[in-house]
């Protein structure tokens, strides 16, 4: 009896905490969505702040018709996709080798990967800028595509190493005995087994690119060349914050990551915890 009431109270308490955290998390988000449907007048008068009244789509039409938003969106998308492809190719090759082949220097490479996993863009963005400027790659999407893997590669490799290591070694030993080369064994036997890990690495890298701000701010100055984050950020440099415009952009920018996320929450969580939790 005593024990049961204790369990009950514990459960109630936990739900209470969850609901508080839930409100903290959801509130700013609710605010973004609601504001995106408000008129400029309502936003500045701070009246009936919780519901849009009158409801309007003007912010969205204004954003899409009168600004470069769609172009920025396309830029962000192409940069992210190219980065993900480069990341997957380089990190898979390296992770396979580190995870499954014995060789001298392996430990060194693994350490290097860990170092670069923590390496902040803050330390290299200036020399990178000067370097790319010299070869004429600033203000070009290609330049950003070239350097974005600096953010995604180390993590992706680190994540994939543990995955490759977890696949039984016997699998490709058989293929190697049958005369397959390492690359064939990798491509035909092992790679197909890693699809879940590839998905996680790809999604993680994608969301990282989608959020990237510093490099884009430094490398892309022309309005037509910017990514979404920078374009939208520059709206906020006006004398008065155009909240309606900013928040409608916020909703549209979040959609791709949220959609990805809803479909593959499991992989996303795997990616997020991979750095810290060993499986």
């Amino acid at each position: 009896m005593h024990k049961n009431t204790f369990v009950k109270w514990e459960t109630i308490y936990r739900y209470f905490v969850l609901c508080v955290v839930f409100l903290i998390v959801i509130f700013p988000y609710y605010w973004i969505v609601v504001t995106s449907f408000k008129t400029m007048g309502q936003i500045s008068s701070a009246k009936s702040i919780f519901i849009p009244n009158p409801f309007t789509l003007k912010n969205y039409t204004h954003l899409i018709k009168d600004t470069h938003f769609l172009l920025w969106f396309k830029n962000s998308l192409s940069v992210a996709i190219v980065t993900v492809i480069i990341t997957l190719i380089l990190s898979n090759l390296a992770a396979y080798s580190i995870g499954r082949i014995r060789f001298r220097g392996k430990k060194l490479i693994a350490t290097l990967v860990l170092v670069f996993y923590l390496f902040p863009p803050t330390v290299i963005f200036i020399p990178l800028y000067l370097m790319l400027n010299k070869i004429g790659l600033t203000n070009k999407l290609e330049g950003v595509m070239l350097i974005y893997p600096t953010i995604t590669l180390a993590f992706s490799t680190w994540f994939l190493i543990s995955f490759y290591r977890s696949i039984p070694m016997e699998l490709e030993e058989a293929a190697l005995i049958d005369g397959a080369s390492r690359f064939q064994a990798f491509r035909k036997v092992i790679l197909p087994l890693t699809l879940p890990a590839q998905t996680a690495a790809a999604i993680f890298s994608f969301s990282w690119c989608w959020d990237e701000f510093l490099y884009a701010l430094v490398f892309l100055q022309d309005v037509g060349k910017q990514t979404m984050n920078i374009g939208v950020y520059e709206f906020s440099l006006a004398d008065i914050y155009p909240w309606g415009l900013l928040m409608s952009a916020g909703v549209l920018m979040s959609i791709p990551v949220i959609v990805l996320y809803v479909f593959v929450q499991k992989y996303m969580i795997r990616g997020l915890t991979a750095g810290a939790v060993k499986e």
């Binding site: 936990r14 905490v17 955290v21 903290i24 998390v25 605010w31 701070a46 190719i89 380089l90 990190s91 090759l93 390296a94 080798s97 580190i98 082949i101 060789f103 220097g105 430990k107 490479i109 693994a110 990967v113 860990l114 170092v115 670069f116 923590l118 390496f119 902040p120 803050t122 330390v123 290299i124 963005f125 200036i126 020399p127 990178l128 000067l130 893997p149 600096t150 490799t157 030993e173 990798f186 959020d211 701000f213 510093l214 430094v218 979404m228 984050n229 950020y233 914050y241 916020g250 920018m253 979040s254 996320y261 929450q265 996303m268 969580i269 997020l272 915890t273 750095g275 810290a276 939790v277």
Partner: protein, 305 residues
Amino acid sequence: MKNSNKIKIKQLVRKRGFFLKEERTAWLFVLPLTLYFFTLMIYPFINGIFISLTRKLVGFPPIFVGFQNYIDLIHDWVFQRVIRNSFIYTFGAVSIKLGLGMVMALSLYKGIKGLRFFRGFFLLPWITPTVISGLIWVWIFQGYAGFLNIALMGLGIIKKEIPWLAIPNLALFAVIVANVWRGFPFFGVSLLAAMQSVPQEYYEAAKIDGASATQRLWHITVPLIKPVIIVCSLISIVRTFNDFNLVWIMTRGGPARSTHIFATYTYETGFLSFQWGKAMAISIYITPLLVIAIIFLSHYLLREE
């Protein structure tokens, strides 16, 4: 079958210098990544160290000045504030994130209905583009018609609107809050995953011995998930210390330099006043902390096989 495979492998090894070939293949596989690291990370880093030893003005060749930039920075009052701000920002934000993450993980752990639902929503801040989350917090904290002021005035706690982002200490507090909101899910999800890997028998045995819930938390859960707590905190310390996005979007280092941290000051010095040497020296000052964090982390993460 297995045995005959092993014998065959041995023959293979003897026949063709198998290991030599293996080594070559292994290096061939890691070569692209290594090349990338060298050209786009290591080379720029070394180059950055050289830049930090020079004074360069636009249109003139750089002049070698030795450690002058580093010495000047020690006497630069803004840089002194930057150090102070960075430490407050980092340790303030990381400790609250750890606390909130722990609360989140404990509440979600075992036997709660709707785990997936809650966990799903709790990750929302983490996937929201930083530009947007930064701006939404600007609005919550803004003086005129900001949500926090409306709420506090509605509750009768304050009489006049407070311009949170215009008052130095409050502005630093505001960026910490925004950082916590964005970053605590990382802790929550990681700690939850760690807790779920603790064998259930430990708890049952402790229950039989009459240990209370708090005792079980301190004597079983915390010691067993300690490595994850440390790793998460270290990663978060490095990331928060080097943060640029949130601070730049919310305050651009102001008011009166009260929220300037390493990255924002580096950016301002480099790209707004074009003092590349000084800017590089600021960011190189981060490396000792980075090295310490990496040594600790490799201790936890490189224990393999």
